[in-house]
Symmetry: C2
Subunit: 694 residues, 2 copies
């Protein structure tokens, strides 16, 4: 505890006008109701290879006065931005990355970002932009001559940004309006923003910080549009920090959240940059002024150029999990402490004992474990895929990885929006106070649905991938994608799937549950094929037919595919715990059962049409509710195993010590002008006197 | 347009660094695709009796410089609070209410609040607290001697608050800890907050404004707890505005939203108030110190004492509709203007033409019409119920009204949370900018789920009411509650319900659709009865059995009951339009079809178990998607009929003129420090120099 903070606490204790608080033992009592679990095992499996770094950086943040959410809550834009830069500098200086480190282990960037994000995802977002979006673009698309830019970025000499999105174009990257026209006389590019909608928009770090950017612009050579290409260009003078001549830039102003990140706009006005600014690994302009590219197909080329987004999307998956974990930490502890109603004048009951509250929170805990297991999986797979991609940018492994990541980016952020909103509502008025910090997690989950590829657009990528595989399969080419090994092309076989269970106990069977998840994908695949065949003749072309087979079909197919992967990864995770500790594993395994059964219940229509009967769906519902009840009592132990320390969590109502009531009183009494009369008392009196009392 | 605002616009135009914008005709083009509808008819039916006042107050607000969202967006707490009080004073002075007006027409308060809330629900919330929660409590529970307090409140001489919720108790009002101990010697009450958790918490207007409060406290007479009673008491000195001796009060500080409302806390320390502060219509203490009450049952008495919440809950229903309407206005216009992707190098396509975007938005439009129709219904019914309640506080009509209102408060706020979140996501990055104002509507919907009775607790009230009626019916007493006239006690009859349709067209049948909604209630009722019978012997007592039959059963039953009422009221509303204009009515009627079909689709498991087969559910899905497509093209006309004027909407991306891009640029360029270098440039340079470049 910093001296300053200790003084503040002491002071608040001395000046508090509230009655003296007794120690609140509610949380401890709730915890004592069930057996402890092996917390270290849970944490080690849950965090995987990131675990040692998490412990290290948690300690570092906890012992630095730079990290203090109670101070952040009232900070306005500019002081907040300053603080975030300081935090970043402080942590990065002792955890510096280099090109060589990244080449050796691509998990290192994500690991550092994950640790930053545990404290605050404004801080990690700031760095995602620089260390992955900006830098990965140069690493992926640049050549030896760009090595200096790479090294400068790793040393924070340059601060980078990622200028892709424009005011008029986001998802449709091919439609970007910014042009980079090659001038062979000077061997320069002339960059222009022809219209207001061409302005690069909401670009992280452009508002105030970045001196460099990875620019995406249409390359024009000899008057011919060669498609969108990436450039690395300076935007601010290194010494004066003023925009360079030909560059207009500014701050995009107030946002729903994330004001600590200086999203800005960027306009170019005949801005000339030398040839070497082109990231020319895939496309070059020869010294005699001819364009050439190793990837002929424009669309494919663009896809590869967006490779810099991969680690950004992984950051979304990881960030969604952090939002869920923090929110559930707060809401579960709240629910164990908060008591309401009693029977026959007995003691009041912790609200977590109510079925409704259990059902509101516990399924999200299962989903959170699912998302985390996929975060680990995505990181591991990235290691394989990246090395393959350097050699062959068009490899199948990348296509599959891209489809999985697209689905996962959608699902994780959607799950997080639902979970954080539920936690907000489940904590009532206290959760609506800023000191709960639930708002940060909800808003952060919200923006995760939008950036790094809009969710609705992305999930189509998964559907597209599945259909491409199926088309090949119909041609007799075996499906080799491991994530689709279970696809069944024979509709009769899918229809013949009947589930054989007549008791709740029979449902706790991992083979059966995985089959249920796979069945859903197969069912939706065949439904989608049929719908697409029906729509084909109805519409002008495949573009329209495809777009009109999204709702209830292809969108659901993409999601079911992603959720099936989650179920499998989650099973791997819980079995990992089981291997190390039987008793703890048995508790954690219930999260897997619950994850699948909740998905089945929420899609009961699909299962009832063919696979289930009504009694079976009622058994699923019973099992779901029972699992929620059983897990509720263990959930506080599970949370204690993986929760961030109180200082990092920074929630007045979510502390591990259970002193929720006295903590929120402290937070409120420490806030600005708490006991002051209104600054606008004269106005109040004026209103009072405006109407005469008859 | 105020002079100041005009100057700002002019200035921004002169100093803009952006390329010059062409006029954007996208929205006009979208509108021109379909026939105009009769907007006046739609508005008149939609707003019902409130319509003239809405037009009047919209004009008043539009012509006053006090109402300007572009200024509000950067205001900090205290200036915002000042502005809200000014706005309130300005509008109320020319729309003053009195006790007599309210007695004659109980819609007048809600009408004024609705109009205020169109501009900003911080402003209306401020006034809900005073004019309904505070004042209705006195009107309902006070006697002739309290008339002066009533008149003072209507003249804003007093500003009131509603001190019910405590830090430790919200939903369980019977568990409140604040005590009012009767002292017969002085015929006073001594008010105390024994523990920190007894502090009145998050009480609107207590932080800075209120000099009075309606206090809910346990009445202690002769050492005996007589249950929670209501008092009207002063809390601040009228002249100095300082807390009165024995009262401690302060501001609850920063919230997720609503910082313009000064929610505060209130602690009492042997605070003595005279006997007449007791609102003594139902309970009195005789001059010889004996407690008596006309309602013997404590629980019933408390229920009646909470009558002051009724108009607060109506305000939630109305407020939810406003949140949905503003958000959909913004998101639909955005979707007509924003273009993305094209086929074969054709022109880019407005995103509202995509099935996915239609399905994201249009069902919420149908739900919004449903909520509005129920707002009208609740207002009309309140007129009847209130007069009956004055004579007989225990009348059946009140019990039914309470159950409908409880369900509606839950459903409207849940619908609004979902709709506003979807609109936020559906507007991408621009929707994440504060200038979209989508955040206000989302946050406002969010708090609507919590206050005026937590949603999860409230929906149980509806289930309880239904079960009470059923219990009576099993005893042979006819169900007289109009909202339950269709209940079928015979399970076989429910099970025999089969739906006869085999084409999409057959689904557009209002009788069939209403039957589907009723069937769902009956089905869930019988499922709940069976589950309760199963749970009875499993649990210790009915308290536990009831609480463990909530998820999938009683909670769903309550919601299905509420949604069935919505469907019926919506049908009445759309038929009201049809009567006045066939062509327009035919368009609006699709909203009714969509409302029901979407509900059926989302509960497909329920229908598939007994009523439907798989082909039928696919027809429902087809119809749903087709209705979304057809309505999408008319949706902009519908929105134009009911949308608030641009100045009241205050969204840079939702203006009726369709100039979304130039408006957001204007908003950004007008924001603070847009073109300034960071105030923290030295820190940035320090971070740059922390690591050496090798």
């Amino acid at each position: 505890m910093s001296g300053c903070h200790r003084l503040k606490l002491l002071q608040s204790h001395l000046v508090s006008k509230f009655p003296v608080s007794d120690h609140d033992s509610s949380l401890a009592e709730y915890l004592s109701r069930s057996q402890e679990i092996d917390k270290t095992t849970v944490a080690e499996v849950y965090f995987g290879s990131f675990y040692p770094k998490i412990v290290e950086l948690r300690n570092k943040m906890c012992s630095s006065p730079l990290f203090d959410h109670t101070e952040d809550v009232e900070l306005s834009r500019e002081p907040l931005r300053q603080k975030i830069i300081e935090q970043l500098g402080f942590l990065y200086t002792s955890n510096q990355l280099t090109y060589d480190i990244d080449m050796k282990d691509p998990a290192k960037k994500s690991e550092f970002l994950y640790c930053l994000g545990e404290y605050c995802q404004m801080t990690s977002t700031r760095f995602v932009v620089h260390i992955t979006l900006y830098l990965d673009t140069i690493q992926n698309l640049g050549t030896q001559k760009h090595r200096n830019s790479i090294d400068r970025a790793y040393c924070l000499k340059d601060y980078g940004s990622f200028a892709m999105t424009e005011l008029g174009h986001g998802s449709n990257v091919a439609g970007l309006e910014t042009t980079a026209t090659y001038d062979h006389k000077t061997r320069e590019f002339i960059i222009n923003s022809p219209r207001p909608t061409s302005a690069k928009w909401l670009i992280g770090a452009v508002g105030k910080t970045a001196n460099m950017t990875s620019l995406f612009a249409k390359l024009i050579v000899d008057g011919v549009d060669k498609g969108v290409h990436a450039f690395v260009i300076p935007i601010r003078d290194y010494e004066t920090h003023q925009p360079l001549p030909g560059v207009i830039l500014g701050d995009c102003g107030k946002k729903i959240y994330l004001d600590g990140v200086d999203n800005g706009f960027l306009i170019f006005n005949d801005y000339r940059v030398p040839y070497d600014c082109l990231l020319d690994r895939l496309s070059q302009i020869t010294t005699d002024g001819k364009f050439k590219s190793s990837i002929k197909n424009k669309e494919k080329r663009l896809g590869i150029m967006l490779g810099g987004l991969i680690r950004g999307r992984i950051a979304v998956v990881n960030g969604s999990e952090v939002c869920m974990r923090h929110s559930l930490t707060i809401a579960l502890r709240f629910a164990a402490i908060k008591k309401q109603f009693s029977k026959q004048n007995g003691p009041e009951i912790p609200i977590l004992d109510y079925q409704t509250q259990q059902y509101r929170l516990i399924p999200h805990l299962a989903k959170m474990f699912g998302i985390k297991s996929c975060g680990i999986f995505l990181m591991e797979e990235f290691k394989n895929v990246r090395s393959k991609t350097f050699d062959d940018p068009e490899c199948n492994e990348l296509a599959e990885y891209h489809s999985i990541l697209s689905a996962m980016k959608n699902i994780s952020s959607s799950f997080a929006v639902a979970a954080t909103q539920e936690c907000r509502e489940a904590t009532g008025g206290m959760g609506f106070q800023a000191y709960s910090r639930l708002n940060s997690h909800r808003n952060m989950s919200d923006v995760h649905t939008t950036w790094e590829g809009d969710n609705t657009v992305l999930i189509q990528q998964a559907g597209k991938f599945i259909f491409k595989q199926v088309q090949r399969a119909f041609k007799g080419i075996k499906i080799t994608a491991p994530s689709l090994s279970y696809l069944t092309l024979d509709l009769d076989q899918v229809k013949s799937f009947k589930v054989d269970f007549s008791t709740e106990e029979e449902l706790y069977n991992e083979k059966l549950l995985i089959e249920l998840m796979e069945y859903r994908v197969n069912w939706l695949l065949h439904q989608s094929i049929a719908k697409l065949q029906e729509n084909g003749p109805k519409f002008d072309d495949m573009f329209d037919a495809w777009n009109n087979t999204q709702v209830h079909y292809l969108q659901d197919l993409g999601k079911s595919y992603g959720e099936c992967i989650i179920a499998k990864q989650l099973l791997k995770l819980v079995n990992g715990v089981l291997e190390k500790n039987q008793m703890t594993g048995a508790v954690i395994k219930k999260l897997f059962y619950l994850f699948v059964l909740e998905r089945v219940e929420k899609n009961s229509g699909l299962y009832l049409e063919n696979a289930f009967n009504g009694s079976q769906i009622r058994l699923v519902k019973d099992a779901e509710v029972n699992l929620c009840r059983e897990l509720a009592k263990d959930s506080l132990h599970i949370i204690d195993a993986i929760a961030a320390p109180d200082k990092i969590l920074g929630s007045a109502i979510g502390n591990a010590d259970g002193q929720m009531y006295s903590n929120i009183i402290k937070a409120v009494e420490a806030s600005k002008r708490v006991y002051d009369p209104p600054t606008w008392l004269p106005i109040l009196k004026q209103v009072r006197n405006a109407i005469e009392l008859k």
